[in-house]
């Protein structure tokens, strides 16, 4: 899906389109009613207009931060421990047969 150049020149800001929102909802596995579509479209458009000021910043040469503190991953010893018991794993299952989760056909 080609992205409209939202940051092209500030003036020519294209607002979030309805078909983009519908696609995003599909990606997020959310079924929106027409009223919800209108509500969220307006909310997201307002939000995106607000964050448009990020496009003013010169961020060339700035590396993104995905973790706040430099974390060196610490590994735990490779020792097996008892897994979750079956009854525990199924305890909150919406539909199960005592052995497995029951779900609609996948293939």
């Amino acid at each position: 899906m080609a992205a409209p150049s939202l940051f092209a020149d500030g003036q020519g800001l294209e607002s979030l389109r309805e078909d983009t929102l519908i696609q995003v909802a599909r990606l997020a596995r959310l079924a929106l009613t027409p009223e919800e579509q209108a509500l969220y479209l307006a909310d997201l458009q307002r939000f995106l207009m607000h964050v448009e000021h990020l496009s003013e910043l010169d961020l060339s040469g700035v590396a993104p931060t995905f973790h706040p503190l430099a974390l060196t991953p610490r590994l735990r010893p490779d020792e097996p421990a008892p897994p979750l018991k079956r009854e525990q794993a199924l305890a909150n299952a919406p539909h199960h047969d005592g052995q497995t989760f029951i779900v609609p056909k996948v293939l």
Binding site: M1, A2, A3, L6, F7, L16, T20, L21, Q23, V24, A25, L27, A28, R29, L30, A31, L32, E36, L39, Y40, D43, L44, R46, F47, H50, V51, H53, L54, S55, L57, L59, V62, A63, P64, T65, F66, H67, P68, L69, L71, P73, R74, L75, R76, L84, Q88, A89, A91, N92, A93, P94, H95, F101, V103, P104, K105, V106
Partner: protein, 487 residues
């Protein structure tokens, strides 16, 4: 004159239990009674922790046998309902997890219990931690004990209100963008967001993994410190926890020469909050503190960056709610797609869906660079700027929120207005730095005498230093006790 048990500080309550002046059962019972009598008006509690009295009895038994009791012996705590308990449901305030019973206990709770604390009840919150006034809970809002017409803040509004109303000696909250500190400020209690990695997130229902921490809420900084010391520590089940243990901190015997940064240029700051904080700053200066004006050139951009990063991480974390193994499942699904879509659409509330959509958009192909990655670069700039600030200041001061607690329903149709009130607190989450909210007085009678909180942020691992500064603030600006539920 003997006080009602619930009105003692957490520290005093624990001392009384350890000395045998009262039993843990008496103390637990007193809080449950107070909760039952008064929570109808505040709606802070979602479910009682079923083992509370049993735990209390085992503490009393230990004392009877002459065994040593922990520093939090007998202390009843409210636990934000996005922290997994074994003896009650964990709903995260959402229909999606209605009735969900976690198969394990959050690490923080294991730690607090081994110090003798007693989880008493699960506290109300904005669903999945997404909100700033506890109006976005599936089971309805919580109310501010200082004024029932006003919000207690959020998302840990139930926790903050419960502590202010003396339903618990202290509470646990979680803070992704201010969700401990802002409700603490709105309810006139102390709230601490620890340095990222100080407290295990094992057992915290995830919202935004690189931003959030569990932290304590309490009526005093000493109480908050006791909770924090028991909670903090490395956890093999959360690889983002820090290896460093807490270093002891010697309390300051005066504020003379203490360099405190004061954040400038805050847009949208309520006049009364600004004037009140001015007086606070002057008083600190007259005590000898050196106030240093601090400008953060990207303050406004930080808020935008926060909402892009938080919602992006949320869209990923909330992908696990698929109706298959736990959580809400729609009835009679046509096929797997229908099951996913309807389960999620029925299970999630409006605010949660809004943030998932925003986050999914920010991460999607064609938009990732312009939104999520750009926000992550702003995060880098902010971290660098704050590092510079803390080279010359021991803490950075500001109001916790730019506004006073608002009325119920005031922002319901305008989520962006609510987002903007987080602009001062998100800095600590983006940078991973610790930050404290301490009450520093009440607003005027015309504005309903609502609590105002001072925000103190410090360099990494400086929680005890911040709590010490907070203790000074408490002494300099004693607030009247919350009048709610006092005969």
């Amino acid at each position: 004159m003997p006080k009602e048990l619930c009105f003692y500080s957490l520290g005093t309550q624990s001392e009384m239990v350890r000395r045998g002046d009262i039993s843990a059962r008496e103390l637990t019972h007193a809080h449950l009674e107070r909760l039952q009598t008064h929570d109808g008006a505040l709606h802070t509690s979602l479910a009682l922790c079923e083992q509370a009295l049993e735990i209390a009895d085992s503490i009393d038994n230990q004392r009877h046998l002459g065994e040593a009791l922990g520093p939090l012996a007998g202390v009843p705590l409210a636990i934000k309902d996005n922290i997994v308990t074994q003896d009650s449901p964990t709903t995260a305030g959402s229909r999606m997890l209605h009735g969900f019973r976690g198969p394990y206990e959050a690490t923080v709770l294991t730690r607090l219990k081994s110090a003798g604390a007693i989880p008493l009840f699960k506290a109300n919150l904005d669903a999945f931690g997404m909100g700033s006034d506890t109006s976005r809970s599936y089971v309805g809002p919580s109310f501010n004990p200082w004024s029932l017409a006003h919000v207690p803040g959020g998302s840990s509004g139930g926790s903050a209100a419960a502590v202010a109303a003396h339903f618990a000696a202290g509470a646990l909250g979680s803070d992704t963008g201010g969700s401990i500190r802002q409700p603490a400020s709105f309810c006139g209690v102390v709230g601490l967001k620890p340095t990222y990695g100080r407290v295990s997130r094992w057992g915290l229902v995830a919202y935004a993994s690189s931003l959030e921490q569990i932290g304590p809420l309490a009526r005093t900084t000493s109480d908050a410190r006791l909770l924090f010391e028991a909670m903090a520590g490395s956890d093999p089940r959360d690889s983002t926890t820090l290896a460093q243990a807490l270093s002891p901190f010697a309390p300051r015997d005066s504020l003379k020469g203490v360099r405190l940064g004061v954040l400038q240029g805050i847009e949208g700051l309520d006049k009364e909050v600004e004037q009140h904080l001015s007086k606070v700053y002057s008083t600190l200066e007259s005590e000898g503190a050196v106030l240093v004006p601090v400008s953060l050139p990207h303050l406004e951009h930080a808020l935008s960056a926060y909402y892009l990063i938080a919602t992006a991480e949320a869209s990923s974390n909330l992908g696990r709610y698929d109706g298959l193994r736990f959580g809400h499942r729609a009835e009679n699904p046509k096929d797997l797609s229908d099951l996913y879509e309807r389960s999620r659409s029925e299970g999630f509330g409006e605010e949660v869906k809004r943030r998932i959509l925003l986050g999914t958009f920010a991460l999607s192909s064609g938009y990732y660079d312009a939104y999520y990655e750009r926000a992550a670069k702003v995060r880098t700039l902010l971290i660098q700027q704050l590092a510079t600030v803390f080279q010359t200041c021991e803490a950075l001061l500001s109001p916790v929120a730019p506004v006073l607690p608002w009325l119920h329903g005031q922002h319901h149709r305008d989520p962006l207005a609510t987002y903007l009130t987080d602009k001062l607190t998100v800095l600590a989450n983006l940078s991973g730095l610790p930050a404290l909210s301490v009450p520093c007085g009440l607003s005027s009678q015309q504005t309903h005498s609502l609590p105002i909180g001072l925000h103190l942020m410090g360099p990494a691992l400086s929680e005890l230093s911040l709590l010490d500064l907070g203790h000074w603030v408490e002494r300099l600006f004693p607030s009247p006790a919350c009048p709610f539920g006092r005969s």
